[in-house]
Subunit: 495 residues, 2 copies
């Protein structure tokens, strides 16, 4: 895309100035429309070193209300960032509805740089690009506008600018060794950029290449693209047309809940205690190994109310070193969470490599409570199965072990436990009117859960149905499932 | 405190076991009371290397519900952390009401280590300890329970444990060079610990020294202290007794708002444009210098509705490099913010060194809207003046420039602007029913603002009243005030 791109066209300065002025007014008015229509905008600005990304951003925002935008700069990633999935840094920074985030270079720059440094091998690059396409597509499908600009300059122009920056002692610190490297190997770098641009230019998030030889021309083009894109997005109805998916994931077949026999028990308390102790001991050792091998572990707990999720999690968590494990209780989203992509609040809670995150309820709320209570549109929850598979696929590619438990009981057992909670003062806080209301919708929930298990039990992140009529059985089963998953993984890694 | 502490007492194992069991049940029941009474608990566990902090934490939480607690481990600070104030790492991690955060070593360890490495000079240590005392006192006054345990072992015991850890290949990575250093210079380290303990043991957050020679004994003592402290805190009524303050801050005298003349104007639009342009240019240069000198700048904007805050901020922000500046619009707190110390949501938004944070409304909401709308108790807002001074003092000691603007108009000007907003379609979103309601309370607000200006205009973080009947005048004044503050600071630093 870059190779054939003509650079250095002449422009008419005064007419550019006045055009910019009118676009600026337009953008200023669009801010309020964004707010009103709750449209979030991501503006990614990439380009060559010294192509003027920073100063372009400065001009774009000059007349924006600072309450409506944020600028994110790509800086040297911290140790913590390096221990998170690649997209974590970007996903956690997406705007709320009605706001704009400008990325002063981002996932493109980081990717191309990793290719350059040979950190990313060929297969990894393919995966990376795939993840990026999914990231952008998910954003668009969830109502985000994604605008991507690439500032292009020639080798000679870049050299001239780097030299000028170096001559001024106020700006010399901005020129890095990397910039000069880029200039020296300009042609190679151009090929890398091109390959990236081609791989990620899609109709719903196309690349716009800007001739940045002349700053005014680049500014004018940027204003035009941004305002036009916003106009189009304001007209578009979000989620109206599902976008093409890239991949089908291999599924594990799951039984219908009604076919699951709940009569599994542990023979005696003594047997339970002995087995619990030895499983916890084994898990403690394995946590140590995960830590040393820097493998992250993500465990999802879903299940019926009163199925025994809490007690089950407790047995698992207490076997882990608390310095490297965290339980995330997931309640109804707060408004700052609701105003972003629904997976945002889970991305922000991902563990570091070597750590364990246990989700006490999870993103699967989308296809259960949010679906049944009408908290999202039908298109939203229907799309979510694949989105969640993609999300977990990304986590697994990053290196995580992902395990999902459905803690299962039957309606009679639930009724017994509800009544017991009601009658026991220390347990009464655990039972609310909502629990009774949910109980009435058991058949609808069962249908939704069956659909969820069927559609999201992938081979890389399968569901495990944990029979929990006997809670002791359920605890041992969950512990042993986790132990087995870790052992299998460690064995596979050593092959 | 440590020197005279007797170590190595014999205990009766079976009776310790049964006592621990009953404390454990008590703690388990207390969780629900914490939740019910919305009491947040901070449990700081410090001590010698290999004294068993981690395993003690493991035992304390074994029967706690993972939804109620988090464990924070002190790890090597990231670059980002190093560019924040010392207490940032801890303040941002305080629990929500009803929850427990266990710190696996924290601000004590970090401080003593900085003394050891000679990073902290004598005067800096004094300031550091002062900041820590304020931190803990503010937490307690705002309803937190702060429990501090120190695990003490002898030099010989430590040596024995380090050797044992090193012998096992599963644990050898836990022993650091630092641990052996500590053991080698045990006596010196003991003195440093002692000094810290003495300086920070206060009745509302006392230190508890535990003999950790015998793990069971330490566990028993920890359980006893934790459960007893929680019992006492549950009985205590928060904020009922103000705690002794350490310091009075030098104030700048402020005029009453009614004495401020609002007839200041800029002669012509042309003069405004010229001056604006040159001030923005100067500020841009200065931002560069702040960045290079790593000086953080914090600017607070408060003012009457329709006083022109937004436009004023825009002129300031657009002169800054957006990669190093952020505007934080402060709205009513969301529930995850309300359930923490009211300064938490500002601590989490502090800039890095060399960066600028502009607060569009701020912590001063406490003594204005929260006071007048009864959103906090009288004791809360009365205490807040000093707390906010302490907060800003800490920021200044860290190295920040703190500037606070009161954007001022009179009631007639406000009425005119409200009417104009009402009558201009593009501006109508800016005016709400609440604005009209607030307007009716002008006299009460004026009284509150006068009190705020009088009590919180410290010499290190003064208020500036910005006359904004002529918005152009106000913009230039704010810009020039910021410029002057930066220039003064840079000059002082160079002396």
């Amino acid at each position: 895309m870059l190779k054939e791109f003509p650079l250095g066209r002449e422009i008419d300065r005064p007419s550019a100035e006045s055009a910019i002025e009118s676009f600026r007014e337009k953008l200023s008015a669009q801010q309020l429309l964004l707010k009103e229509k709750k449209l979030p905008v991501i503006l990614l600005i990439e380009g060559w070193g010294a192509s003027g990304k920073g100063s372009l951003i400065g001009r774009l925002i000059r007349y924006l209300d600072p309450r409506f935008y944020t600028v994110c700069t790509r800086s040297v990633p911290s140790d913590e960032e390096l221990r998170k999935p690649f997209l974590w840094h970007y996903f956690t920074k997406i705007p709320q509805a009605g706001k704009i985030v400008l990325f002063d270079s981002g996932w493109m720059e980081e990717t191309v740089r990793s290719v350059e440094s040979k950190e990313l091998k060929k297969r990894e690059l393919t995966e990376r690009l795939d993840g990026i396409r999914i990231f952008e597509r998910q954003l668009v499908e969830n109502g985000y506008l994604v605008i991507k600009l690439f500032l292009h300059i020639s080798r000679e122009e870049q050299k001239k600018r780097l030299e000028a920056l170096e001559e001024d002692k106020n700006t010399d610190w901005r020129v890095t060794k990397n910039d000069w490297q880029q200039n020296k190997h300009y042609d190679k770098q151009l090929k890398r950029f091109d390959k990236y641009l081609e791989a990620t230019s899609v109709p719903w998030a196309p690349w716009h290449i800007l001739d940045a030889t002349n700053r005014k021309e680049a500014e004018l083009a940027a204003f035009r693209i941004v305002t036009e894109s916003i106009d189009r997005a304001l007209e578009r109805r979000p989620g109206s047309t599902p976008l093409p998916k890239t991949e089908q994931f291999p599924l594990v077949q799951m039984p219908l809940l009604s076919k699951v026999s709940l009569d599994k028990t542990v023979r005696s308390d003594e047997e339970y205690r002995t087995q619990l102790k030895s499983a916890q001991k084994r898990l403690r050792e394995l946590h140590n190994m995960l830590y040393r091998k820097k493998i992250p572990l993500i465990i999802v707990y879903e299940g019926w109310d009163a199925a025994g999720k809490g007690g089950n999690i407790k047995r698992l968590a207490s076997a882990l070193d608390p310095r490297g494990a965290e339980v995330h209780p997931i309640a109804a989203p707060e408004s700052f969470e609701l105003s972003r992509h629904y997976l945002w609040r889970f991305w922000t809670r991902l563990p570091k490599t070597g750590h364990v995150a246990i989700f006490d309820r999870s993103w699967y709320g989308r296809v259960m409570v949010e679906r049944l209570e009408g908290l999202c549109s039908e298109a939203d929850w229907k799309r979510a199965y694949h989105e969640m598979n993609e999300f977990e696929h990304e986590l697994v590619r990053w290196g995580a072990i992902v395990i999902k438990f459905w803690i299962h009981i039957d309606p009679d057992t639930q009724l017994e436990r509800f009544q017991e909670r009601q009658n026991t003062p220390e347990k009464r806080w655990k039972i609310t009117d909502e629990d009774w209301r949910n109980r009435e919708k058991w058949p609808q929930y069962e249908k939704a859960v069956n659909e969820m298990l069927r559609k999201t039990s992938t081979q890389f992140a399968p569901w495990y149905i944990v029979e929990s009529k006997d809670k002791r059985y359920a605890r041992l089963k969950a512990l042993n499932t986790v132990i087995q998953a870790i052992e299998t993984r460690i064995r596979d890694d050593e092959k």
